[in-house]
Symmetry: C2
Subunit: 345 residues, 2 copies
DNA sequence: AGATTTTTGAGGGACGTACCTCATTTCACG
DNA sequence: CGTGAAATGAGGTACGTCCCTCAAAAATCT
């Protein structure tokens, strides 16, 4: 049986109240006593029963997820996943608010987050490009004791507690290898579609792609990035223009959203299935396109996993518990038609 | 705030004791009253606070994991993962015993499991080939109220509650596509190494491979299965013999363990890096071989995920809770050098 | 109707922790 | 050595559930 606070009190030769004061970092305990209690804790290998603790304190964790107002299928799936996870056992005793803010508008983001700071906020997950404004927001949140994680897009310069997402350079490299392998040995050009060249994750993915192409597939030449701004129509137009202007385009890498625009353009050009396409994120559309052969591989991060991981990491930070790195590492999933998970209703 | 038993009692117009009787299926409640209480439960959307319940009843779930005594790195990783998960929050309030039984010996397996049936067993995860003996064991376990899941290898004919693992036909198909794509358009032969042709998962993987090769890569001819029995030396010998006897072997698919034997044989034959290799399971060795270019892709199922999923599913069955299909679906991971997760110490 | 059985109610103690109050002890300092 | 402050102890209540007992009420049977 696991030791309890009572065992600690006995072992340390103090009262229950003192153990409690130490455990919950309440004042009024001599340094010496704190040491004695901590000693007993390590000696007995005590670990707080989180279930009982949460039960007792009627703890309600308050979390805010800040997501850009982009109407991509992936973001919709992510919103749903967050809502679902919040209801499940991982979201036990926590209230999760999803804030949808205008994309690429750090000022609006900061305002929106500040608007819900009247109530004490335990944790915050932010998906946004790295800008000084957001960085300052993270600093302020941390200062007032709120745990912060960056989601999908990292904020490496901000003092966030954790990054929940994938290594985008590695994702780009992965895409590059798949493109290179799938396209074969003939020379050709690779069209690259991104959301925006100002977005950190897009830059990283493109960088990874170029690295791998240069290293291992020098017969493939990547073209300048096309910006689709996560918009289907715009993406279709810019890619169509590119396909019309260039010959020998043997592959397309879509690093951002707006993948529907990519398949639209390919179909119009009669190139669907003839040009190797690697896209990001498994959605209803990319699934379909994988099945009908328009897209050949999808690099994906699991929305459910992202949501669960963000929530778990935030709670672990707040409760000062260790993080299971293995579990929280978001994998760069490679999906092809053959290993597509069955659709969940 | 979530409704509690007290709310249910008030809503149903009965006492707390009655609600408790209904909730825990204790006798002595009229049908009519049971209905009234259940009605109140659905009306208020009550869900039992599992943490509080476990706290109160001092529940200790007793689980047994039955694994074959194979000394592959994957199985060692799996054993470690199970041990770790049992210690973590997923294994809260549960005691997990890992039983290691002689491989391919259903009788020994049954005996070993029966030996620990003196204590009441809440759940059991079995990794074994499907045989009548094991099937009977599952039937008996179920009959005495033990939840049962099949792990990695399914027991489709046995009344197990759930299968925790991947679709092996799909895994074989996935391997086939990778082999086909990576090997290029030149005709050639594919060597296939399995543990044993009597193992269901091996048969399935091979079947998937052959399907895809026939459909999409008819220029590749798959050779008869080589049996390595998960043994490094034996695998090396059979594959070496095959490589010596056959010319034009352009690819190797290792569907089972003993991958070290495969790389040994290729190195000896001077074919390392020249022949496309697809293996299963990410281990220290396959990671290294991916990095040095001897293996080109690994089809993997995450050991930590398997362990967590098995435990979660068992507990859900015991507590009659719903299962989050999305979370419990084990993915067929495709790993190449570029999307290899960082090594965890 | 009375006797018997079944169903229900009321209440309490437990699980491990949090958090509160109030009294008592210990300590440092003048 | 006394005083005030700091440290500690003792004890309680609460969280939501389980599980137990005993009494009371209601239903069923004779």
């Amino acid at each position: 049986m696991r030791p309890t606070v009572i065992d600690i009190a006995r072992e340390a030769g103090v009262s229950l109240a003192t153990v409690d004061r130490v455990l919950n970092a309440r004042p009024g305990v001599r340094e010496k006593t704190v040491l004695a209690v901590n000693d007993a804790i390590t000696r007995l290998g005590y670990v707080r029963n989180v279930a009982a603790a949460n039960l007792a304190r009627q703890r309600l964790y308050r979390f805010v997820f800040v997501l850009p107002d982009v109407q991509s299928q992936f973001l919709q799936a992510l919103r749903m996943a967050i809502t679902e996870v919040a209801r499940g056992p991982v979201g036990e005793a926590s209230e999760v608010l999803i804030l949808t803010v205008p994309p690429r508008d750090p000022h609006a983001l900061v305002l929106a987050v500040e608007a819900c700071l009247d109530l004490p906020l335990d944790g915050c997950a932010i998906m946004a490009n790295e800008t000084p404004e957001v960085r300052d927001l993270v600093v302020r949140l941390k200062a007032q004791g709120t745990a912060v994680v960056s989601l999908i897009t990292d904020q490496p310069q901000a003092p966030r507690d954790h990054f929940v997402g994938i290594d985008n350079v590695a994702a780009g490299r992965t895409a590059g290898v798949l493109l290179g392998r799938f396209a074969g040995p003939a020379p050709g050009k690779v069209a690259v579609v991104v959301s925006s060249m100002l977005a950190r994750d897009m830059v990283d993915r493109r960088f990874g792609l170029d690295l791998v192409l240069a290293e291992r597939f020098p017969h493939l030449q990547s073209l300048p990035s096309l910006e689709g701004h996560d918009d289907r129509d715009l993406t279709e137009r810019v890619l169509s223009a590119c396909l019309a202007a260039q010959d020998q385009v043997v592959a397309v890498y879509t690093a951002g959203a707006g993948t529907r625009g990519v398949t639209d353009a390919l179909r119009k050009a009669g190139l669907a299935g003839k040009v190797v396409v690697v896209a990001h994120e498994l959605t209803g559309h990319t699934r379909e396109a994988l099945l009908d052969g328009t897209i050949h591989a999808v690099i994906s991060q699991d929305a459910g996993h992202l949501a669960r991981s963000a929530l778990r990491v935030l709670r672990a930070r707040i409760d000062r518990l260790a993080i299971d790195e293995g579990q929280e590492r978001i994998r760069i999933d490679i999906l092809i038609r053959e290993n597509l998970p069955p659709e969940t209703p």
